[in-house]
């Protein structure tokens, strides 16, 4: 990490880890946050005029599909982490549905090595729950832990077998690893490609109901209660799931959950309005307005711990097909901050402090990562962003290798300006990404 000092002068420093929101200087030196104070003098440091901008701990994404190895035509660790840097993310957790699947030590070691060689930001691998994501036998969780996994997940596929989920929770708990669950009950989801409701009825597309998610959430929070293991529910999309999680928490079950920007801001009516545009097809699907509103409330008040992007790159050729045949997923790293500023901060639905918390401090805490803070001595993972400047979302504007964004052609208030990882600049809006 760089030893060159950077002084961010006069920015609005928002650090939820210390409940801090005031105009201060921040000095980054030797890879760490050296000082946060009024009027810091630092001879020889690069001076960044941060007046009018927000200075915050770098964002942490618990749910990123980097696609390498196996699907490099969609994304690589290099391009995905450049997209992360451009979105203000300094740490990303790489999901396990690659080819090969990281289900043993060497496959995890590969991701760690590639990230070290080509990554623009910190990459934390998530190991598989089951060998090959097949949902039959446990993956080699202990050996993967040695190589650096921070959680286990069969994301993209539900763990349909309840007994396997129980054993995964028990086994992972020995290593202090959370189990991240993608919740869908296969027989209720069926061939569903969107939310079941008025929009699916009009479009004549197969829908799947909220209970397809919440039934599995109910099973898994009870298994977490039974085992005492850490459960993290990925991309919650329904109000019933939220009710179930609230009830479990009241009983002391150690469950956390995340929500994506698109589930917070879009609904199944956006699918209808788009005229079968597959940039609005993801799993779980965009839900009804009542669900969307409930997710926002839950995020603001704390039932939902954090935001995660579920950045899921797909090639244009894969997406340019009939709606039912297109793969699920949208990219999200580069639009997360502007989408949330535009959709939640500008209308004053969320405070700036809470917004930064759900993007950095809270996700770091969920996986036990030592980031998401500007405490003196912490790693100098920092994002500088504007809440008043706008980001036009265009196909050519992405660092990601893919362009499957539901925000294309929109101009969103909020813009990431610069990003540092360990004190080294990894993104600057004016000069592009240096590496």
């Amino acid at each position: 990490m760089s030893g060159e000092a950077v002084l961010l002068r006069g920015g609005r420093v928002v650090d939820p880890s210390r409940n801090l929101d005031q105009t201060l200087d921040v000095l980054l030196k030797d890879g760490v946050v050296a000082k946060v104070d009024e009027k810091i003098a630092a001879k020889g440091a690069e001076i960044v005029d941060a007046a009018g901008f927000v200075v915050a701990p770098g964002f942490v994404d618990l749910h990123t599909h980097l696609r390498e190895p196996g699907f490099e035509y969609k994304e690589t660790i290099a391009t995905g982490t450049r997209a992360a840097a451009a979105g203000g993310f300094t740490s990303v957790c790489a999901m396990a549905n690659t080819d090969p699947v990281p289900d043993d030590a060497p496959t995890v070691a590969f991701v760690v090595r590639r990230a070290r060689e080509t990554g623009a930001v910190r990459v934390f691998p998530i190991g598989a729950v089951s060998k090959g994501l097949k949902g039959v036998e446990l993956a080699e969780i202990g050996s993967m832990k040695v190589e650096g996994i921070v959680a286990i997940s069969d994301d993209g596929k539900p763990v349909a077998n309840g007994n396997l989920m129980r054993r995964a929770l028990e086994y992972a708990s020995m290593f202090g690893l959370p189990v991240v669950v993608h919740e869908e009950e296969p027989s209720l989801v069926g061939a569903g490609v969107m939310n079941e409701g008025w929009a699916s009825t009009r479009l004549g597309l197969a829908g799947w109901p909220n209970v397809g998610e919440s039934a599995m959430v109910a099973r898994d929070v009870q298994l977490a209660g039974l085992t005492g293991a850490r459960l993290h529910v990925a991309h919650v999309s329904t109000r019933e799931s939220l009710e179930t999680i609230r009830a479990a928490r009241k009983l002391g079950v150690p469950v956390t959950c995340e929500v994506t920007p698109h589930h917070l801001l879009l609904t199944d009516e956006d699918v209808a309005r788009s005229g079968y545009d597959t940039r609005f097809k993801m799993n779980p699907p965009l839900r009804a307005e009542a669900d969307r509103a409930a997710l926002v409330t839950a995020l603001v008040e704390g039932t939902i711990d954090c935001v995660a992007t579920d950045h899921a790159p797909h090639h244009e050729d894969e997406k340019n097909v009939e709606f039912a045949d297109a793969p699920f997923g949208v990219i999200g790293l580069e639009t997360a901050l502007p989408a949330l500023v535009d959709g939640l901060l500008v209308p004053r639905t969320i405070t700036l402090l809470r917004l930064v918390e759900v993007l950095s401090t809270a996700p770091a805490r969920v996986f036990g990562l030592p980031y998401g803070t500007l405490a003196e001595g912490a790693a100098a993972d920092v994002v500088l962003f504007s809440t008043s400047k706008s980001t036009p979302v265009t196909p050519d504007g992405f660092q990601s290798r893919s362009k499957n964004s539901p925000w294309l052609a929109r101009t969103l208030k909020g813009r990431v300006e610069r990003t540092w990882v360990g004190g080294r600049e990894v993104f600057s809006r004016s000069s592009g990404t240096p590496r």
Binding site: T201, G204, G207, Y276, E322, F323, A324
Partner: protein, 324 residues
């Protein structure tokens, strides 16, 4: 209920639909619908001449892309194209082009290179015509997409009803059967409610899609309730190939509960007409005595399909610029 004739339609100054494509009834206006129905009247007249052919679409090329089995609709479009003197070509594929390694969009783009004026597409995927329409400059006509819509069927049904009843507004129309899997039902509900008819949808709860009452239709589960007092009884095909079979235990029970028998037919108005988009499952959703009975307009629907499709093609690709 008294028959109220539609107000006399003035010779429309408009000779084209408001959009370049006909993708769904949901996306077109009442004026568009009236224009198609009025134009179809003159087309019907052509079909009764000794020489059933006019030069209206001479030099125009229409490509018929049928990715799903179809007899009636496909023949109907082909006949319509020939009667208007369009050149027409047909591409039929069992399964999707994806199965052959080519995407729908590539098939469309390749076809486009040969400059058709219109593409008529039938496809098993909802929204497939919309995908083509978004990327291709020619007119795209939806000839049935998955479980979404079948707009020309609804137009020919409306044409048939209007000819029988003189009007659409104020009529009581019962649409009965497997609504969930029926693109015919979606298009018809949309068209009929737009035009002021009162629609009752009826079927087993398992075959009615969620929130269907938001179409403005009355929704019931007993066939008797739907048929009672109706001017029009439209029976839908049970679509086992689309998964309709999970919605009821057996053909026998379906017939008992939801089959249109002569007894149930009697609950409708004396002069009610009986419709079915075909192909029929005789003895399941409809009794042969009704299907072949005096109130049945099922074959007229087929006959009118040609005139309506002639009207649609004419209004999409023949009506711009010069006169007939």
């Amino acid at each position: 209920m008294t028959k109220r004739p539609d107000p006399p339609v003035p010779a429309s100054p408009r000779r084209a639909l408001s959009k370049k494509d006909l993708l769904d009834i949901d996306g077109i206006t009442e004026d568009d619908i009236r224009l198609v129905l009025d134009t179809a009247e003159s087309m019907r007249e052509i079909n009764q001449r000794a020489i059933k052919k006019v030069p209206t679409l001479r030099g125009k090329l229409v490509a018929n892309l049928f990715f799903e089995n179809s007899t009636r609709t496909r023949f109907s479009f082909e006949i319509a194209e020939r009667r208007l003197s369009a050149d027409s070509i047909a591409l039929s594929a069992t399964g999707t082009s994806v199965a052959k390694g080519e995407t729908l969009l590539d098939t469309g783009r390749n076809l486009m290179a040969m400059a058709p004026d219109a593409i008529v597409i039938r496809h098993s995927r909802s929204g497939a015509p919309h995908l083509l329409a978004r990327h291709l400059p020619c007119a795209v006509v939806n000839a049935g997409d998955g479980t979404h819509e079948h707009p020309t069927q609804a137009l020919l049904d409306a044409f048939t009803i209007r000819r029988a009843k003189g009007t659409l507004a104020g009529l009581r129309v019962a649409i009965c059967g497997d609504v969930t899997h029926s693109r015919v039902a979606r298009s018809n509900v949309s068209l009929l409610t737009k035009m002021g008819a009162g629609v009752t949808l009826c079927g087993p709860r398992t075959l009615l899609p969620p929130e269907i009452e938001r179409t403005g239709a009355r929704v019931v589960n007993r066939l008797e309730e739907a048929v009672e007092g109706a001017d029009v009884v439209m029976i839908l095909r049970v679509q086992k190939e689309r998964g309709g079979g999970l919605g009821f235990p057996s053909d026998r029970e379906y017939y008992e509960q939801f089959g249109l028998t002569p007894e149930r037919r009697k609950l409708a108005k004396k002069d009610a007409i009986v419709m079915h988009p075909g192909p029929m499952n005789r003895g399941v959703e409809i009794d042969s005595a009704v299907a072949d009975g005096p109130d049945s307009v099922i074959l007229e629907q087929v006959e009118n399909g040609v005139a309506v499709r002639m009207a649609v093609l004419y209004l999409l690709i023949g009506a711009s610029g010069e006169d007939e």
